[in-house]
Amino acid sequence: MTTATTGRTEVKGAVGTAHTRVEGRDKVTGAARYAGEVPFADLAHGWLALSTVARGRVRSIDTDAVLGMPGVLAVLHHGNAPRVDTDYIGLLGIPPDPTAAVFQDDRVPHAGWPVALVVAETPEQAREAAEALVVTYDEEPHDTALTSDHPGAYPADGHMPAETEKGDLAAGLASSAFVVDEEYTTPEEHHSMMEPHAATALWDGGRLEVIDSNQGATWVQTELAKMFSLDESAVRVRSEHIGGGFGSKGLRAHQVSAVMAATVLHRPVRVVMTRRQMFSLAGYRSPTAQRVRLGADGDGRLRALEHRSLNQTSTVYEFVEPGAGVARVMYDADAHRTANHVVRLDVPSPTFMRAPGEAPGSFAIESALDELAERCGLDPIELRLRNEPEAGPVSGLPFSSRNLAACFREGARRFGWAERDPRPGMRRNGRWLLGTGTAAASFGAGAGPSTALLTAEADGTFTVRIAAADLGTGARTALTLVAADALEVTPERVRVRIGDSDFGPAMIAGGSMGTRSWAWAITEAARDLRERLALGTTVPPEGITVRSDTTAALGALAQKERHSFGAQFAEVAVDTATGEVRVRRMLGIFAAGRIVNPLTARNQLVGGMIWGISMALHEEAVRDRSTGGLYAPDLAGYHVATHADVGDIDADWVEDHDPDDPVGIKGVGEIGIVGAAAAVANAVWHATGVRHRSLPIRPDRVLSATAPTAGGGADA
C-alpha cells in the first residue's frame, strides 16, 4: 500500500500543450480494434437485404430457397422477427427512427429499407444468400423530389423552435437602401465516415453484450434496453475505437438486427453495413432550399433579415435540418424572421451531420452577406463588424463571450486581406481566375449531464472511467490532459478508459459537446478525490474510487448565449477552360474557448474546413426520381475531398475566455465546417464575378454560368 499524492510536486499544466494521441501507437500499428474486429468463437454473420422499391408493401419473401443454401442459418423478416418497442423517448429526448426498428411490418417507406437479415456461417455465404433472396412488393407511387414550393411543407421544431419573428419585415425591407433577396440550395450529403457501421451481439450469462461503433455507449445501451424491453443493467455496449461518426453513429439497423439474430440463434452474430447500404440506412444531411432576404441602411446596418430553410424528411421520422437557426445567433435587425420547414417524402430518414443546420444555413446567409457587401460597396468584413449584435438577436440573452471581431482581425492580418482588390473577375494567371472570400462561423457550446468514475490506484496512478467516445476527435487524449491537470499530476500517471456503458451515463460525442461535458465530470471527480486524499488517506489495494455527476452543476449554469465563433478565409483558382475550382489556400481563425490539445484541435478544425471545401465543390448525392434511389451510392459516385483537392490549409485560434464557465472548453468538432463553403463560394464570385447559390460548384455549373460583363456581376 502506498499513499497517493496529488499536487505535491510542481507539475506543469498539460492542457494547452501539444500531446500526441495516447492510443496513437495502436492506430499506426493496426493494433487498435474497431467494432467489427473483435473475434468470437462460433461467430455467425448477418447480411441485410434492402428494398428495391421506394414505396409499397412486401408481398412475399422466398426464404425457403435461401435457407437451403450452404451455411445459411436463418432469415429474419417482418413475418418472424422478434417484436420491439418503439414507443419511447431516448437519451437525447427524441423518439427512435423506425428505420432502426427493423422487420416490424410489411411497409416499405423508401428505397433501401431493410426487409430481411440473412445469417450464415461465413460472410461470403451470408452475402450470396442475401443477394439471392427474392422479395416481391406491391408497389405504390412515390415522391422523392424536394422542391422549394412543395405543398406538403410545414414548420417543424427539431432541436430548436421552428419559427421566430419580431418587427415588421415588409416595412423593414421597403425602407432599406440595399436589399438582397436570393434563393440558395444545398444537395443531399452523406457522412461517409471511413469505418462502416458494425456491431456484434451476444448473450453472455443472461446479459446482452454488444460490441459496436457508436457515438455514445450508454446512448445505444439505453436505446437497446428500451427497444427490447430489458433492464438497462442487462445490456452492455462497448465501443473502444470508432472510425468516425459525424452524427451518423447512433442506434441503427445493424445493432438491432444483430441483437435479434443473436437472440434467435443463441450465438454471437455480427452485422456490418456495406458501403452502399450506408447510403440509405445511416442517415444523411437533407438537401435544403433556402431563401434569404436582407435589407440594410446606406451604411450597411441591417434593418430587415429573413431566413427560411426547407428540408426533406422521411414519412416515418421527422428530422429538421435547421438552416435558419444561424441568424438567431449571428445577426440582428429590427425586423427579424427565421423559419425551418420540412416536407415528408418517400426518402430515407436524414439525421444529424456535422453542424446540422449551421453548415447549410451558413452557406446561405454568409453568401447573402457577401452579396449585401457588394451592393453596399463595403468590405465584407467591415459589413459584418458593423452588424455585431450586443445580445442574442432572438433570445436577448448576453453572450458568454463573442470574439468574432478578434477572429476577423487576426485572420485578415494573416491572410493578407488588406491588399485585396474588391472588384470581381480582375485577377488572371494563365487560364486561371483568382479570387478570395471570407465568411463568419458560429456553433453552440453546450454540455450534457455526465458521470465519471475516478480511481486513485495503490501504485500511485489514476484511472478515469467514463462512457465517452473518441470518434477520432482526440477525446481520449484531451481527457487525459484534463484529468492530469485537475489532479495536478503528469499525464503519464493517468489512464483514461472510455467506450463502455458499464462506466455509467455520459453525454454522447455530438453537438461539439462531448469533451466539454466529459471534462466537466472528470474535473468534479478529481476535486472530490483530492479532498479525500488530502486527509492523508492510505490507498488500499483496490484503490479509492469517487463518482461524479454533473447534472446539478449544469442546471446551475447561468442562461447565456454560449457559442464558438470563427472567421473563414479562402483563396480559389477557377479554370476558365474546364470549370474546375481549386482551393489554393484556406485559413480559419476561431474563438473556441480553452484549447485542450493544440495538436489534435488544429487537426480537427482543419478537418472541418476540408469538409467545407468538399461541401462547396464535390459532395452531392443525386436521387433518381423514377426509382427513388440514389445514382451510384458509393465512394466513386459520391465524391468526398481527397488529398489532391486539399491545398494549404491552416487553422488557429484567439484567446476566448468565459469567466463564469467552470470548464472553459467550447468544443471544436463542428465549427470548422461552418461558413467554410460560403468562404469558397464568395471567393469563386471574387474570381469570376459569378454568384453560385447552388452547391456543389461543379465544373459544368461554372462553365454554363453567364460570363461576367465588365464592372457587373452574373448569376449561376
Binding site: E124, Q125, M194, P196, A641, H643
Partner: protein, 192 residues
C-alpha cells in the same frame, strides 16, 4: 474452422509479414477477408470493399494493392506486407513514427492504408516513377522533387474522411526526407 478443400474452396499458403499461413479458403474470399476474418490480422481495414477508398491498402511484392480487389486464392506465392508487419519490435517504421508524431490521422480507420500507401509512394518516387503532378516526365529528368503537390497526387487513392490530409502530407514528407537521408548515408558508406 478450416473446411476441407472442395469445388468451392482451396487450400492455400499465404506469405504474410514473412510468415507462412496455411488455410482453406472459399474461392470468393478476398485477400482482405482472409486477413481480417481468418487470420485475425484486422489492422487492414474495410472501408468500402470495392476498391474506392484505399483503407485496405497492403504491399504485395513491395507494391501497393487494395486487398478487397484481390482474391485470397490469387495471393499464393506473393509476399504480402500488412500494417502489422512494418514495425521492428518496439521500433516503429519511420512512416508510422511520422504519422504518430505529426498527428497524421484522426479516427485511425484509414491510417493503415495511408501508411502502406505512403511507404510505396516513397519507393515509387525514389525509383523515378512520375505522377500526374510531375512537370518533367522524361526518364532522364530523374525523380521530381517530392513536393506537397506530388505527395497529394500520389496519395489520392487513400480517402480520409476526417480530413487529416494536411498532417498526413507532412508526415509523408518527413518520412521521405528521412528515407532520402538514409539512402544518401548508405550510398556514402557503399562508396567508402
Amino acid at each position: 474452422m478450416a473446411p476441407a478443400p472442395s469445388s468451392t474452396s482451396s487450400a492455400v499458403t499465404l506469405n504474410i509479414n514473412g510468415e507462412k499461413h496455411q488455410l482453406t479458403v472459399d474461392h470468393r474470399t478476398t485477400l482482405l477477408d482472409a486477413l481480417r476474418e481468418r487470420l485475425d490480422l484486422t489492422g487492414t481495414k474495410k472501408g468500402c470493399d470495392q476498391g474506392q477508398c484505399g483503407a485496405c491498402t497492403v504491399l504485395v511484392d513491395g507494391r501497393r494493392a487494395v486487398a478487397c480487389l484481390n482474391l485470397a486464392v490469387a495471393a499464393e506465392g506473393r509476399e504480402i506486407t500488412t500494417i502489422e508487419g512494418l514495425a521492428e519490435g518496439d521500433r516503429l517504421h519511420p512512416v508510422q513514427q511520422a504519422f504518430l508524431d505529426l498527428d497524421g490521422y484522426q479516427c485511425g480507420y484509414c491510417t493503415p492504408g495511408q501508411i502502406c500507401s505512403a511507404i510505396a509512394v516513397i519507393e515509387e518516387h525514389a525509383a523515378g516513377w512520375p505522377s500526374a503532378a510531375t512537370e518533367d516526365v522524361r526518364p532522364e529528368a530523374g525523380p521530381p522533387p517530392l513536393t506537397p503537390e506530388e505527395i497529394r497526387e500520389r496519395m489520392s487513392g487513400n480517402l480520409c474522411r476526417c480530413g487529416a490530409y494536411v498532417s498526413i502530407v507532412q508526415a509523408v514528407a518527413r518520412a521521405a526526407e528521412a528515407h532520402g537521408e538514409a539512402d544518401t548515408e548508405s550510398a556514402k558508406e557503399t562508396a567508402a
